[in-house]
Structures are given as structure tokens and as C-alpha cells.
Amino acid sequence: MCVIRTENLCKTYRGGTHALRGLDLEVRAGEVFGFLGPNGAGKSTTIQLLLNFIRPTKGTASLFGRPTTHSRTRQRLGYLPESVNLHAYYSGQGLLEFYSGLAGVERADRRRRSEELLGRVGLLDAAGQKISQYSKGMLQRLGLAQALINDPELLILDEPTSNLDPVARRDFRDILLELKAAGTTIFICSHILSEVESVCDRVAILQQGELKRAGTLEELSGAAGATVTVKQLPAGAIEALSATEARLTLRGGESTIACDSEAVHQDVERLLEEWGVEVERVETRMQSLEEIFFGAIDRESTS
């Protein structure tokens, strides 16, 4: 089942800026979906369209199979924006109780639910403190708590860890992994590629409003080089290999040839075949998300 679906979604702002050009996207139930792209790629515009903050110029967007204009679809989602703007006159506890009311939590359960979430994000000690006295990191954690107030089936996170220190960032990732294990669908926009790589099942890369690539990391990543191990290497082969970009290491009776790219790997394979060297094993290295990302985007047009 598709939790998020967009078809030919376009958004042109007043003044003619094309923020989104025909985005087709599907996010399935239970998956963690990373939405990547450089600044101005159209990620935030997509989120704003999904939450019905703005209207598409063309195309459609749906959540849980219903148009995003239905306010009831938001009963099943939680949202954490990049800059968390909260009502500063509440205490942390008061704010969560207010949001839980809006999210449809029964009055009798609001206090319990708020305390539970404050504990989960590590803010129980600051529950009675005014939000105006919270630090940026505390606000971000409170923002996450409000996003989880209705136990959502879909969580939309826009740069969720931008204000967090490394410890809080790790705690945050642990919460995401818990939610993932519980079957929550997570749609996450982030610049921190290592973070996305560690939690996401699928990613989409967007640039200048166009979808460049989408799929699982396995589908998107190609071979990024290899390490070839051989038993015996004739002197002529050593000389020939030294002339390539491969890095040769001779250790006892075993030699390893590290190839940093697939082209170098192919050169090495050809040379070894020419010299009749028997290959012991080949360990292929797959592309990291960072390599996939930079491979997908056109850096000249971004800059």
C-alpha cells in the first residue's frame, strides 16, 4: 500500500520559480524513505504540498490514498519541520497536551501521553519549564515529541537533526529505528547522508525540482572499485600493474591489488588475464550514498 503518492506534481511560485517539475513518487507503508537533494531542490516544497500548506500548480498528491486536502488524513501523520516554531507561552507539558487535544487524543489520556513522550525524548525534567527557556536542541526534541503525539502511521521529518548535538543525534536515530521496527512509515529529508544511509530503505534524489534517481541503496549503488587478491604474481605482471592506478601490496605469498574505481578494476582484470595469473578472490566495494548522491546531481547547475 502506498502511504504517499505524487503524480506529475508541479509547483511554480509567483514570480515564475519552478520549484517542482512533474514529481512522481511512491512511499510504501512501513518503509523509511530518504528524500535528498541540494538546497533549492524542491524537498521542502514537496513536504508543504503533502501537508496542504501550499497548492500544486499541476498534478496530484495523496496521503493514505486520499487527497492531501482532507484534514483527516493528518490524523495519521506526524510532522517535524526544519525550524521548530512552538508556542513559547506554554510549558513543554502544556504544549504537548494542547497538541494532543488537536490530534484527537482523549482528554483523560493527554497528560499520560505527554509525560510518556517527554520521557522518551529526554525532557521529563524540563516538563514544567516554559518553552521560551528551552535550548535549540530541547526545542527539536520537543518538536519530535509533538510529532509522535498521535502515535502516527506516517512521520514526515524535515532536517530533523540539524540542531542536535552528536549524543542527541544518536538518541534520535535510535528512536527512528524503534519506530521503523514498529512499522511506522518515515519520510525524511536530510543533508546528513550518513544518517539517511543508516536508517533508510529507499531514497530519492531531487535536483532543481526534478527527480534524478529513486530506489533502494542496492538498486542505486554501482560497483565503486574492488580489491583483487592473487597468490603468485610474476615480475612482469608486477611491473605492468605498477604502471596502472591500482595499489599493489605484496605480503608473504599473497598479493592484494586495490582498485579505486571500476575502470581501474577492469584494467587490472585484463592484465591479470594476459599474464595468466589465477585470481584467488575479488571483493567488490559498492558506492556509498554520498557517491550515489554526487553521481546523481549535476554539480555545475547546483552551484
Binding site: S71, P81, V84, L102
Partner: protein, 267 residues
Amino acid sequence: MRETLLIAGDSIRALLHQRLLVALMLVMLGLTAAFSVAVTEMKESVLQAAEAGAEAQGTGLDEEGLQEARQQIDMAGSFFLAAFYWFAAFGGTAVTLFICCTAVATDLRRGTIRMVLAKPVSRTQFLLGKYCGAIAVMFSYSALAGIALVIFTRSNALELGPAALYSPWLMFCSNLMVGSAALLLSLLVHPLVAAVIAFFASASFFSSPNPLHFILPSYDLFNVSSLIMQGRLIAMEDILTLTLYALDVAAIFLLVALWRFRSKELL
């Protein structure tokens, strides 16, 4: 309904946080005290003038002179009562313009509107909640003004004229119209510009041949200052008609505001 009430409660909480209601009470207190001092001084000066007049004629202040002085005091008392009402009504309009022009604009500026509308809250519920919160504050203000009016008349031994009895209600009705106009305009233009337009968008500012005289609502119908001065009474039917008129105008503005807000992009 629950969402609307929660947002209304939140709006009131935000205004309390700005100490707006406390400031209103202090203004009312200050107004009552200032007018009381003025009335006391006026009474003394009228009596002193009457005594001085009698002394100049070589006679004491007789019953007839005293009666004349009392009449002058009553007339001046009505004037002060009308002026008191006028200031209170003007203050109420200013407060209404402030609350309604900033109701949505502040949330938009701070970005808190996105947090609320990401919850299962429709835009209609949001705007109605904001308006209900504003209504509650407007009603509180009118009630405060009514109490201040009673305190003022009692403390100065003035007679609470017939028109003064229903003046706080008419003040509230007038503010309902001004408030809904301000709310609508704040969705179209800058809140400050919206406040100015909403204040001057009254038929009373345009004379009869001007089409705006017939299109715009008339806030002047609700200003009972002159009736207070004349000690006249409005019939209950007229109060009912004015109430319905205010509700009608407020509903029209509110419906247009809802239509506009539903399609507004929250950038």
C-alpha cells in the same frame, strides 16, 4: 468543535501572555479614575461659580440657584458619561483591531500555524477558533467597560441613563463587525494596513451619493454617546435589529475570510 475551542483557548492564552487583558483592566481603571476626578472638579467649579454669582448679587445661594447649579451638574454629568463611553468604545475598537488583525498574521510570522495545521485541524476550524478567541476577549472588554461605567456613575452620584444601560452590548456588537472585517483584511494585506482600512470601512465616512455609503456597514448606528447625553432610550426592537444587523455583517465578512483562508498559501 473541540479543535475550534482548543484554538480559541490558545488565542486567549496568547493574549494573556501578552498581558493584554491586564493592560485593558488598567486602562479601564485609569479611565474611570480620570473621569471621576474631572467630574468632581466640574461639580466643585459649578457650585463655586453659583456661590460667587450669589455673593456678587449680595445674597446667599438660595434654593433656586442651587436647583440651577444641579441642572448644570446633571447636564455636564451626562456629557462626561457620554465622553467616558466614547473613550471606552474607541479603546474597544482599537483592541478589536489589534486582536483580529494579528490573529492569523502572528501565527503565520512565527510559523506556529504550520505546527497546528499539520494536525487534523481544518483551516475553517483554525480561523473560527481564532475568531472565537477574539470574541471572548471582545466580550470581556465590553463587560469590563460596563462595570467601569457603573462604577463611574455610582462613585460620582450620576444617574445611569437609559442609553448607558445597553451601551456595552452595542459596543460588543459593533466590535463583532469591526473584528470580522479586520480578520478578512489581514488575510489580504499587511495587518497594520488592514487595521486602518477596517477602521475607516464604515458607511458613516461616506455621504449618500457615494456607493460605499450603501455597501459598507455602518458602525455609527452602534455609537450611543449622543443618546447618553440626551438621556434617551432605544426600544428593545431596535436593539434586537442592531444585534441581527451586526451578526449579519460579521457573518458575511467571516464567510469571505474563510473562503480566502482556505485557498491561502502558507509560505
